[in-house]
Symmetry: C2
Subunit: 119 residues, 2 copies
């Protein structure tokens, strides 16, 4: 079993296509990992190298910006990465599209994400 996890929470109300969503989630995953690498190197390396499987990620959904912001209130800002789209393609500039949480220990992240559904 893995002991660390990263969660990415995506807004489903923006009408983004599968490729757009994948790009936004990838942004969140990279930047959130980079943030935790600086903030808590032990969490970062534990997540990166743990067995079965390493780098566990979970992609979750919400239906509005308000719901997304509500989720963020359950977590310290140090654990959160906010992704705003430049808005050159499918959506308006500076739209909040998703957030990255962690990677962090399961016991710390589970209470934050417990009410969210898988994308």
């Amino acid at each position: 079993m893995n002991n660390y996890k990263q969660a990415i929470v995506v807004r489903k109300d923006l009408g983004m296509g599968a490729g757009k969503i994948a790009g936004q989630v990838a942004h969140a995953a990279v930047l959130a990992a980079e943030k935790i690498r600086k903030y808590n190197y032990e969490w970062y390396t534990s997540w990166l190298y743990e067995d079965d499987p390493p780098q566990t990620k979970i992609v979750l959904k919400v239906n509005s910006a308000e719901e997304l912001i509500k989720v963020t209130r359950e977590a310290p800002m140090e654990y959160l990465t906010f992704i705003h789209d430049a808005g050159k393609t499918q959506i308006a500039p500076n739209t909040l599209t998703c957030i990255g949480i962690g990677p962090m220990p399961n016991e710390a992240i589970e209470p934050i994400i417990k009410n969210l559904k898988l994308l």
Copy 2:
């Protein structure tokens, strides 16, 4: 204009849903960035911090494993990250789902991806 880019190339023939694709692309983005961070730190930091916009990513598609492998033959192995799914949910174990390329300079990555379509 940005000078660096990361590409993720996804197989569209596996019937993966939007959430599954997003997770696989996120794996590729994080691991490919980590690989380049070790292999060429200047490329990594240039991509991570460049302006307008930073951390450019492009998500592309192919229709088979063979097509994906053909793409990889255009690039040195040092630039490539292969993502195989554990196969616990939607697809068979150890299926090659996508690859990450770079981040690397545009002039080096464009020839590798020039024939691929956006996801």
